[in-house]
């Protein structure tokens, strides 16, 4: 039982943090918003940082890192509200293609291609650009489709850095069918929800930090508003929720490959906890900011909007809550002390 990250993982996280906070600043995002397009010209640099091949095995030119470590990376991407489709490409498509022994994994790691995802849980594809490919999951097929073969309709999101599209297509390359396809789609959904939860943790931390900074600087009634207990308590509550959501998300990452139902339950908890923390923090943040938080002049809006979008992705709160309900209230999963890590240990009365 060791619930810590390795030094390697933490160092990679620190490197990613330094890089992302330097490159993907609020000013950068503001520039992208003003230019009316999420310019993704920065992708090659992300590839160079090793992000694209983060989960691709060494043998295929990737970093061969763990899902746990990828959660840390997703947190950092969330913290800067990074617009690039990191979770799609590097978190879902790359390791899945690698597991299928597809050359595409190595190509992703090398930056030669970007593969996005289309999944029944998500009605749209995000950030689809010329030259990209789409891994499309459905009940009985997993297909790889070139952007060139796709008819798209643009769909407008409140998040100015999300570029959504409906896709329609006929020409596809089928990667898997039948039961295997269902298994792959379920796995993609788990990873999608887990890593999105990671991004939400990062967004939450960012909103708390920017609200804290504002509360220290902004004066009303002759003092910094951060001296008011109501402001303190809004942020302390948001901070507490975040502190307690983190280990929930990390646990889900660490047990992703264990017992299937337990993994599904852990991911459901992770998505619910991270989304609740993020939604609450967004409302606390705008309340602390006051009027300025309601405008394009503060950075906050970009982060709140991303939160609202991500809450609905890879299964919303209802979707995951219904699964927990079916297992806990209406199923037979044991609860209580000594059951939390049950599938990995003694516990749950086997003894």
């Amino acid at each position: 039982m060791d619930f810590t990250f390795t030094t390697d993982e933490l160092e990679l996280r620190d490197g990613a943090r330094e890089y992302l906070r330097g490159r993907c600043t609020p000013e950068t995002l503001r520039g992208l918003v003003e230019s009316g397009t999420a310019d993704l010209a920065g992708w090659p640099e992300l590839v160079e940082m090793g992000f694209a091949g983060f989960l691709v095995p060494d043998s295929a030119g990737g970093l061969g890192m763990s899902d746990t470590a990828f959660v840390l990376l997703a947190e950092e991407a969330g913290y800067v509200a990074m617009p690039e489709p990191l979770v799609d490409v590097a978190g879902i498509a790359a390791p899945l293609l690698a597991a299928l022994d597809s050359d595409a994994a190595a190509q992703i790691a090398a930056g030669a291609i970007r593969v996005l995802t289309s999944h029944p849980l998500n009605p749209y594809v995000n950030q689809l650009g010329t030259g990209d490919q789409v891994l499309r999951f459905s009940d009985d097929k997993v297909e790889l489709i070139a952007a060139a073969d796709i008819e798209t309709t643009t769909v407008d999101s409140i998040d100015p850095l999300r570029q959504l599209a409906h896709i329609e297509t006929a020409e596809t390359a089928i990667l898997a069918e039948g039961v295997e396809a269902g298994t792959l789609a379920a796995r993609a959904a788990l990873r999608g929800a887990l890593f999105t939860a990671g991004e939400l943790l990062g967004l939450t931390a960012a909103m708390i930090d920017m609200s804290r900074a504002y509360a220290v600087e902004r004066k009303q009634f002759g003092v910094a508003i951060g001296t008011f207990q109501a402001v303190k308590h809004h942020l302390a509550t948001a901070f507490t929720r975040l502190e307690f959501a983190r280990p929930v998300v990390y646990r889900a990452a660490a047990t992703l490959d264990g017992d299937e139902r337990r993994a599904r339950l852990a991911v459901a908890h992770a998505k619910i906890a991270a989304a609740d923390a993020a939604t609450g923090a967004a409302e606390a943040a705008i309340q602390v900011h006051g009027g300025i938080g309601y405008t394009f002049e503060a950075d906050l809006h970009l982060f709140m909007k991303r939160v609202w979008a991500l809450c609905g992705l890879w299964g919303d709160r209802h979707h995951h809550m219904r699964f927990v309900d079916s297992e806990i209230l209406h199923g037979h999963l044991q609860t209580g002390p000594a059951t939390t890590f049950a599938a990995n240990g003694l516990a749950s009365g086997q003894h």
Binding site: L121, G290, F296, K305, W308
Partner: protein, 390 residues
């Protein structure tokens, strides 16, 4: 206590309902924070006034019908029931109007009220300043009295912000420091100014949805006649507090608005009942019950006011209640929209044409504007409960 409408009240309701059925635009108007939408909303105000519905509680001489508060509530119920447009003139008719009635001279009333009711002059509020948000007394903008060619003017200098409607409106009102070295609540005067005056510059502020729902107003040697002052010199704070009272009080957020949202929320729930989590239905019911409670509280207060009662600091309870209810209703709706919650009105797939998202954005401002809910809770604790100031 008799909670039945009188025949006259039923008759009035029928009249409102019939008129609205014949006049409310079939399609929702574009946002009033866009140039096109603003003018269409102004047209709607003119249509309303053509039926003599501009502001039914006002005296007949100012374009009203002299309705009492219960009739006003009936009007509002029918208005929201009919899905009629937002009132682009709300800063005027709901805030400045009542203030003018109470503090204005006869000349001011005659000059300003009829075009206000008619939609010919749309008003912007100019309460806040960059360093005077929730701390409204930290006002720095100045109005210096000068006489030129035998005429008395105020020269306005300074800056206002979060001025809703100011981008497209005709007139603004706010308080200015008329006594040079005065502090806090003292030495302020309440002044009306045309937004197209020389020396006034408007800088639109883009709000969450991208529209310019409010603006900064810069005053640089802008001159207005002394006759544009409402009340006495130095009485500005007192008048502003009365106006803010109207804002937090009965009229700004009539219950019908929230009852419409609760009804739509029930519909949304029914459409999604199969996929949402088990608690959702009860959360929706709680919203419905609270919208009812808000309606009941408003009728209760209106009845007491009509019987000679006065509204006091407990108006702060209203502000807290409706703003938190509105945010909660929209938060629950957003949750039910799932992966489509992020879609704007421009997306073909957007549920209910993006109104839930739009409403959620708007609801987030509720606990902030017109005095944050933190300030309102302080007011309740200090004035209704007698707790000591810090």
């Amino acid at each position: 206590m008799d909670l039945r409408y009188t025949d006259e009240q039923d008759q009035f309701r029928r009249e409102v309902r019939d008129w609205l059925a014949g006049h409310v635009p079939a399609e929702p108007l574009p946002s009033l924070d866009t140039p096109e939408g603003f003018e269409l909303h102004r047209d709607w105000e003119r249509t309303l006034e053509s039926g003599n519905w501009g502001m039914v509680t006002w005296p007949v001489e100012y374009g009203g019908r002299g309705c009492n508060l219960i009739e006003w509530l009936i009007f509002e119920e029918e208005y929201y029931r009919a899905g009629a447009p937002l009132r682009v003139s709300q800063n005027g008719i709901f805030l400045l109007g009542p203030t003018l009635m109470e503090f204005g001279t006869d000349a001011q009333k005659a000059r300003f009220l009829p075009p206000m009711a008619a939609g010919d002059e749309i008003w912007a509020q100019a309460w806040s300043e960059p360093n005077a948000g929730s701390d409204m007394a930290a006002i720095r903008s100045r109005a210096t009295r000068v006489t030129e060619n035998g005429e008395d003017f105020y020269v306005l200098e300074g800056q206002k912000t979060w001025s809703s409607r100011a981008v497209f409106a005709d007139w603004g009102f706010g308080i200015f420091r008329t006594e040079p070295d005065s502090k806090r609540h003292k030495g302020l005067s309440f002044i009306l100014f045309p937004l197209d005056a020389d020396g006034i510059t408007i800088r639109p502020i883009r709000q969450l949805d991208g529209d310019a729902g409010f603006a900064e107003i810069f005053f640089d040697d802008a001159r207005v006649p002394v006759a544009n002052r409402l009340g006495d010199e130095g009485q500005g704070w007192h008048i502003a507090m009365a106006t803010a009272g109207f804002e937090r009080g009965l009229m700004l957020r009539s219950p019908a608005r929230f009852q419409v949202t609760a009804r739509r929320l029930i519909e949304l729930y029914r459409q999604n009942a199969e996929r949402v989590s088990p608690a959702t239905g009860e959360r929706v019911i709680e919203c419905y019950l609270d919208a009812e409670a808000y309606c009941l509280n408003t009728y209760y207060t209106a009845s007491r006011l009509m019987a000679g009662g006065r509204i006091g600091s407990e108006a702060s309870c209203n502000k807290i209640f409706w703003s938190e209810l509105d945010r909660r209703m929209h938060r629950i709706a957003m949750s039910m929209l799932g992966a489509r919650a992020e879609l704007t009105e421009h997306a073909a797939d957007a549920v209910d044409a993006g109104r839930w998202l739009d409403g959620y954005l708007f609801s987030l401002a509720g606990p902030i504007y017109a005095g944050t809910n933190e300030i309102q809770r302080n007011i309740i604790a200090e004035r209704c409960l007698g707790l000591p100031r810090a």
